[in-house]
């Protein structure tokens, strides 16, 4: 009995030791970003890169803020409007697909889902052509349109799977009370969908905020979001690393905050994106 007990304690010590070691390893980049962003540029060199800053230097953040302000604003406008639109449309689609008989839905739905897995490179060149022909190439509105359209598959999927669980009897009783298609949506479906909206909004916001391919190919300089600005700043030769690191923190903060505050829903979005049906 005592042997078993010792074994158990030893096992727990190993588990915790491994967990703490792993956690520290995962946090190494975080440590590096923070200390580098707080160093005075002339004190940053490769040999002392792991040392704590001698004096805290906050100017990198105000500099990065100056450089990135227009791009951050673009990112906010882009992420908020594209998220709202794709969530609303996705909710309507999900409602129709879950509760109304749509001819051929069995085939339409997977055909829609395919759109969220394709490499966007496969549509990039015709998209470039198309956006140019309708005069939206390079504009922020064009980028919003692109994100709304390619966001539809995942938002539709999450809402549809959520609405399937709502008992149809509930809808029927509303229907007997005289509610039509929109009446059922506004009175029953929409009020019940808050949890699904939270999942979808968090998912779409992080995806769109973090997106880079469309951002770097479809936006002219004044419409570029933060990811492009960061890649350009860090991609230059002989960069002083305090600025890219401060920029990385600015670019990461919104999605990081969303994740830390609403982590539970974030994980649900992750799982919804991978396990279907």
């Amino acid at each position: 009995m005592t042997l078993l007990r010792t074994q158990q304690i030893a096992w727990r010590i190993i588990v915790y030791a491994l967990l703490i070691l792993m956690a520290l390893t995962f946090l190494v980049p975080v440590y590096m970003v923070i200390i580098t962003s707080l160093k005075e540029p002339s004190t940053i060199n490769l040999t002392s890169s792991w040392d704590l800053p001698k004096e805290l230097y906050f100017e990198s953040f105000s500099q990065a803020w100056e450089v990135f302000k227009p791009r951050l604003l673009n990112s906010f406008v882009l992420a908020i409007s594209a998220t709202a639109l794709s969530a609303l449309i996705g909710s309507m689609n999900g409602y129709v697909l879950a509760k109304w008989r749509v001819p051929g839905a069995k085939f339409l739905f997977p055909l829609m889902l395919f759109g969220m897995f394709i490499p966007y490179q496969a549509i990039l060149i015709p998209l470039f052509d198309f956006m140019r022909s309708i005069g939206m190439y390079g504009s922020l509105n064009g980028l919003i349109l692109i994100h709304v359209v390619y966001g539809l598959p995942i938002t539709t999927l999450i809402f549809r799977n959520f609405y399937v669980e709502i008992p149809t009897e509930l809808l029927e009783s509303a229907s007997i009370d005289g509610a039509d298609f929109f009446g059922i949506y506004t009175r029953i479906i929409f009020p019940l969908s808050i949890p699904a909206f939270v999942v979808v909004v968090i998912w779409q916001f992080t995806q769109i905020w973090n997106e880079f391919l469309f951002a770097v190919t479809m936006a002219s300089p004044d419409a570029q979001p933060i990811t492009v600005g960061l890649a350009q700043l860090a991609g230059g030769e002989a960069v002083k690393w305090n600025l890219p690191m401060a920029g990385a923190i600015l670019a990461a903060l919104p999605t990081l905050l969303v994740y830390i505050v609403m982590g539970r829903y974030f994980i649900r979005g992750l799982l919804a994106g991978s396990i279907k049906g």
Binding site: Q121, L124, M245
Partner: protein
């Protein structure tokens, strides 16, 4: 509730999305395929970036050039890189994700804290991750000096670690590295692909045999035979091997420059696999595990015989999600190695430099089609089987 008017309203509400997706997904894919068969103003005016460029059909010439053309070696390198990247990224994420899920599942204190730490990289942009890791992987700093720093820590001027544990500064060039290992010749690729295909056929046949599905087994046999025959009659050599290229250019292998990018990608995505596994593990009834323990199974055996088999569908999901991410990877490579690094080139980067820098839009379209085919090979069977299980339930 299904009055005729409402049913029509429902269809009308769905229609705009269907039309948009039909155009933006299927229409554009069709156009990409179409462009890939043209020269996109290659011979005449106006120049490629103008509107209404005259496009002449040149058949599969773009694909032939990619596979055999002297100047197109970056494309061949990008395929090889994608292969190695996918393999190591998948294996790394699955192993690390499983270990993390296993550790967190041991009824520990502070579970939420650990889970948050392992999963937070997932909320970052690949560009942010890439920027940070680019700094961490500077050849003469960062990760290269970290082991030396840690093992040579002193307290009151005395070393904490004994002599034999102290290490020197590493000298990996990371993304600047030009080393190659596991080298092979490009001309051997069809052979290896054939072997790989036959192994997959073999696994499939074994499954059919176990399930006693004789007819399927027959089809598989015919398929495998035909597949092997293509190789034997030298079909692949005709498709993409007549290369007029110096021998050095034909030698391919694992580029060490990819290692850093793979590490960063695993750092970002292994938490996701952990979350998937954890959801799966928690979905297995505790009674089942308890029963196995009562029967004398050690914790490790419980995992091996009860939990791992229960996780099979989740492992499949993880492989497919990660696999399609790695096949289309672009932003991470862009942020870490830049778009012009020939050692770390992947198809996503190549398409960008071809189409949006080099004005080679037809050749870029061909790269896009190849990417789509690769991703579809992974995704279509997955969607198909999901569709089937859903209509059964």
């Amino acid at each position: 509730m299904h009055s005729r008017k409402d049913r029509i309203t429902a269809l009308i509400m769905l229609l705009p999305s269907l039309v948009l997706l039909a155009i933006f997904v299927y229409g554009f894919i069709g156009q990409t395929v179409n462009f890939s068969l043209t020269d996109w103003g290659g011979t005449g005016a106006p120049p490629p970036l103008q509107e209404n460029v005259e496009k002449d059909y040149i058949g599969t010439q773009n694909y032939k050039d990619l596979m055999t053309g002297f100047l197109e070696f970056p494309f061949r390198n990008s395929l090889i890189n994608t292969f190695f990247f996918t393999v190591f990224f998948l294996v790394g994420c699955l192993l690390l994700g499983f270990v993390l899920a296993f550790l967190i599942d041991q009824k520990i204190m502070g579970e939420g804290v650990f889970r948050t730490i392992f999963l937070f990289p997932m909320s970052l942009s690949f560009v942010v991750t890439g920027t940070i890791w680019r700094w961490l992987l500077q050849p003469k700093g960062g990760i290269n000096v970290l082991p030396e720093k840690i093992t040579n820590v002193t307290l009151f001027d005395k070393h904490i670690f004994p002599e034999f544990l102290r290490v020197k500064v590493l000298d990996s060039g990371w993304m600047n590295s030009r080393e190659q290992s596991w080298t092979f010749m490009w001309s051997e690729v069809p052979k290896y692909l054939t072997y790989l295909g036959l192994i997959l056929f073999g696994i499939w046949a074994f499954n059919a045999l176990m399930a006693k599905r004789w007819r399927t087994l027959g089809y598989i046999g015919v398929g495998a035979f035909g597949f092997g025959l293509l190789y034997v009659i030298g079909f692949w050599d005709k498709v993409f091997l007549p290369l007029q290229v110096p021998a050095a250019e034909l030698q391919k292998g694992y580029n060490a420059a990819l290692t850093g990018i793979i590490v960063a990608a695993i750092w970002q995505m292994s938490g996701y696999v952990m979350a998937l596994f954890l959801a799966g593990i928690r979905g297995i009834p505790e009674d089942l595990r308890e029963a196995a323990r009562v029967d004398g199974c050690s914790e490790w055996k419980v995992y091996l015989y009860i939990i791992l088999p229960g996780l099979r569908p989740i492992i499949l999901s993880a492989v497919i999600i990660l696999g399609h991410i790695s096949l289309k990877i672009f932003d991470l490579v862009f942020a870490m190695a830049g778009p012009d690094n020939n050692q770390t080139i992947v198809p996503g980067i190549l398409l960008y430099t071809k189409a949006f820098r080099g004005n080679q839009l037809a050749s870029g379209s061909a790269v896009a089609v190849v990417m789509l085919v690769l991703v579809s090979l992974v995704i279509v069977p997955y969607l198909w089987s999901n569709l089937r299980t859903e209509s059964q339930s």
